[in-house]
Subunit: 279 residues, 2 copies
């Protein structure tokens, strides 16, 4: 008999929901092609559905000649935004307000004369966006490194791992003199992590549902796996290897902030179908 | 056979040396009684020598009617300083410049609208001095406590334990939004701690020489004892219990920043006298 449990907060977060709503509203208004600069959110299933509505992912802003352009939830680079504006294209800004907050704090720190440090993944579009708004006059740290400068200003990627962020900041304070820190980690991802960690203590196996490249899903997976080693990151139920479930009776399910609830419900249905339904 | 080793940095630090020199200079100039508000430094042997030169410890500023008043290395309260000035007494300010730096940063943070947090011992005169310069509008934390307020400004006692300071700060950042931190731990006490910890790894027993109430000596003792459990805090060689030394051949010696070198040399002489002389 298999029992299935899910975490309380599930489905899209505020910023993701808002981004999708903005695009769908525009779809209702216009029949022109809509472009998103990079994937709107880091969930391939959602991106696929949008594609069927003629919402197309375009990585290179220079290749867009007409239509509406949507700035994705993670934000784009300052120079890209300027380019789109100069070209006179219709722009819909779906940047997550919490990402904009990181940018605002980083710019404020720079203005105040701090050497700005962004703790996060240098390859993530959010981090690249923040850095571009500093005219690249900032340092991205994915791990601790000694930084010169008496006055350091610190922000972090909204989906950064709290422990990692605190550890790097702690070491900067240890070496440094004056440090101004904005804890810009998104609260809801923290709440979801804690819920998922709590659930993972009570189950035999945890499934974390979300995009392979979704930063917050990957982090959710990592922090849950620390507690329960039987944790797997899947995009849909098709990624489930049945061998994982042998001799497991209590299954916990959670998902990233860009994972649609329907994908999670599909996983639940699939798992319940394997051995009875409870939870 | 007993071998004795001492750490490289020993004797008075800059602030202590300066405080003593200021008092002795004044003694050379004037034959009037000199008062220090609280002990000039936290070393009873030095305070005793000063007493023999008519430099008297007075805790209550209101009881001083004439003579010269010395503000001790740890600083005094703002209201005490104002009182002395109003009374027109001759004041010699021997406050350690690094303590003044803590006060300056704390005042700056308050002016900028931060809720000011002083990490340190609420009973230590340095911390009380810093707090008084904020007109008591600050919070002293000796351990982590959740603090309300979106903008927190943090300083710490110059002799605070780095790990404790970083741990409390880390937790404030975890809970908080915007935190501005000045790492005001005195560099030389850190260097001395590291030297003493390194030495303690190579010896059978460590003796930490310094005043019983000396904050930096107590901390030195604590951080060394973490590494080598055979560590003892003594004021002079008279505090040594011979049983500590039985079967010990390598003895390490270090001292606080308010410990005169002569006291350390006396300890070395005593220990060497017990079993030969090397090191």
């Amino acid at each position: 008999m298999i029992e299935v449990f899910k975490t309380r907060h599930i489905g899209f977060c505020y910023g993701v929901k808002r981004a999708i709503e903005l695009v769908l509203e525009e779809r209702g208004r216009s029949s022109e092609r809509i472009y998103t600069i990079g994937p709107l959110i880091h969930n391939p299933q959602v991106v696929e559905i949008l594609k069927s509505k003629d919402v197309i992912v375009e990585e290179d802003v220079r290749r867009i000649e007409k239509g509406t352009v949507v700035i994705r939830s993670h934000g784009i680079k300052k120079e890209e935004e300027l380019f789109l504006k100069e070209k006179g294209l219709k722009i819909i800004d779906a940047t997550c307000p919490f990402v904009k907050r990181v940018r605002r704090f980083a710019e404020e720190l720079k203005k105040e004369g701090y050497r700005v440090i962004i703790i996060g993944d240098p390859n993530h579009p959010e981090v690249q966006s923040v850095l571009s708004y500093l005219d690249n006059d900032g340092i991205v740290l994915d791990q601790y490194k000694k930084i010169k400068g008496k006055r350091l200003g610190v922000v972090c990627q909204t989906t950064e791992d709290m422990e990692k962020f605190l550890d790097i900041t702690k070491r900067l304070i240890e070496e440094g003199k004056e440090i101004k820190v904005f804890n810009t980690i998104c609260k809801i991802t923290r709440i979801r992590e804690k819920e998922a960690q709590n659930l993972s203590r009570k189950v035999d196996l945890m499934l974390v549902v979300g995009g392979r490249i979704s930063s917050n899903t990957k982090k959710l997976y990592r922090v849950v796996k620390r507690i329960n080693p039987n944790t797997y990151h899947i995009e849909t139920e098709r990624d489930i290897d049945l061998i994982w479930l042998s001799n497991k009776s209590k299954i916990g399910i959670t998902g990233g902030t860009s994972t649609p609830e329907i994908l999670i419900e599909n996983v639940i249905k699939f798992v319940k179908g394997l051995g009875g339904s409870h939870g």
